[in-house]
Symmetry: C2
Subunit: 313 residues, 2 copies
């Protein structure tokens, strides 16, 4: 492990890959691993790419990364695969499409699941971001597959979040609208050659005009990512947001907020581990659940019993 | 509260509504409320309706409920609104469409958020299901808005889960496939008058043929819910699954598994509450997060500090 750490600090790609795998599959190592390396983080700028399925997030990320690479900056890409029943298989196809980036030494691509990680996908992703940051990535893109709460939590943990939409999603656009102001720092209408692109743009822009905090009104960019159109505009919007966050002091505030959430997850994770240890690896839960269904107990009496084991109440 | 409990046991609709609101907005009451009422649960049959956005879940649920009502059985409908940025507003439109059910005394409709409930949407929904069960619903339908992990967790907690799909979702169907066998007990291709319906049906049926456990192969039904076509077929499939679960003993096993998961959530919820109390309502997290971003601490040292406060480690 010490050897891997050193190789990571030396910017060795394979060490980064290996360490992310270790973090992904084990719940304890991030602690041993990152505790003393943590001081080497904080240099990467983290960009979240999210939006509904079918919006073309992978293609957009692909083009954004290629464009950033022209400046010579090194880039990490983390694609979130929450391994939910609904999205379990989707990521593979997307990754294949992005595979020509794999031959670029300045790009590190990684799909993240959370199979072996008790703390779930958010925590594993957070550790992977720290590893890529230490590794030396100037920019880290986090791309989500779907729109689940855990994915929203992850992109909320970025410095700049890009919300991708497409024209003509109908009700789905309605659904996105409600939270538009909360999560997106930059908005992109992809597949902008489709009918209704201008209408969708205007609708989103109108919603954004209603924002209470007028210090940053998210720009709404149009792209046809598949044709590489509009990509520079998105990068300019990201750069503007980065500048705004730095100058306003909101960048620091957001990083504190992000670390706070992540710390909460780390603590809950550790608490859960203690919980499992003290309940014969969860066996007590099975036993009590049987009693509950047989109506020999109830969920609340059972909860008290378990908390008693932990000396917490 | 005692008065409300009595009115619930007497099958008063307004008492049920009031109690669900209380549970939804307060994290402690479900315990006080449901501890002694719990013995009155276990009579309702719980059906989950899930699938990707745009599959027509609301319309299908609407028609299923109307059809069940013809048998005289009373029905509860819980629509999950996880208040994610992506789905926050979607539910209202759906509910309006279903509003003619509201005038039926034998139907109880409710949208569930988890705004004030620390334990999150799963726990609030579980408590609401218990309340509707005690209230006297013969069937409870839980309909999700999207496909987030928390929604998957909820429908996994049902006696029978109906997975709704539509023809021609392309990649999205691929995405669903991967988890198809795990979550669905009954499959429905809605909007079956669209191109590709047979193809989609065959693809899903083929996937299901690969199931290791051959004791229940989920049927794949075709519906055009908007025209009320195919609804009886879905209800027959649900009835067959119910019978299978009863006869095989898997129904009991699933309920034990469901209660086990719910118990785990209850315990974690209570642990979180203790955590907040012992960290000056989370203030310690803010303080430590600032130090982490300033690199005066790291996430793992901070975690140890907080766990020390709890006498857990």
């Amino acid at each position: 492990m010490d050897n891997l750490k050193e190789r990571l600090l030396n910017g060795e790609k394979r060490a980064a890959a290996r360490l992310i795998s270790i973090v992904e599959n084990n719940e304890d190592v991030d602690q041993i691993l990152l505790k003393d390396l943590y001081k080497n983080t904080g240099n990467a700028y983290i960009i979240g790419i999210t939006g509904p399925p079918g919006a073309g997030k992978s293609t957009l990320t692909d083009k954004l990364v290629k464009s950033v690479r022209k400046t010579g900056a090194s880039v990490g890409v983390i694609a979130i695969d929450p391994t939910s029943p609904f999205t379990g298989g989707a990521i593979l196809g997307d990754r294949v499409r992005m595979s020509d980036l794999n031959t670029d030494d300045g790009v590190f691509i990684r799909s993240m699941g959370a199979r072996g990680h008790l703390g779930g996908i958010s925590e594993a992703t957070g550790a992977a971001v720290d590893i890529l940051d230490i590794f030396g990535c100037d920019y880290i893109f986090i791309e989500t597959v779907g729109v689940g709460q855990s994915e929203v939590d992850i992109v909320k943990a970025c410095d700049t979040t890009v919300l991708v939409s497409v024209p003509g999603l109908g009700d789905d656009i309605q659904a996105i609208k409600a939270g538009v102001m909360e999560i997106g720092d930059v908005f992109v209408i992809n597949k902008a050659d489709r009918d209704g692109a201008i209408k969708t743009k205007n609708e989103i822009a109108m919603m954004l005009e209603l924002k209470e905090d007028r210090s940053w009104i998210p720009p709404v960019d149009m792209t046809i990512a598949a044709n590489n159109e509009g990509i520079e505009g998105v990068l300019e919007s990201i750069a503007k947001h980065k500048e705004y966050m730095l100058e306003s002091g909101n960048g620091f505030k957001r990083r504190v907020e992000n670390r706070k959430n992540s710390l909460m997850n780390l603590v809950k994770d550790r608490m859960t581990r203690v919980l499992l240890e003290k309940t014969t690896n969860g066996g007590m839960f099975e036993e009590l659940a049987q009693k509950i269904v047989a109506k020999e107990s109830d969920p609340y009496t059972a909860t008290d019993l378990i908390l008693g084991k932990l000396n917490l109440s």
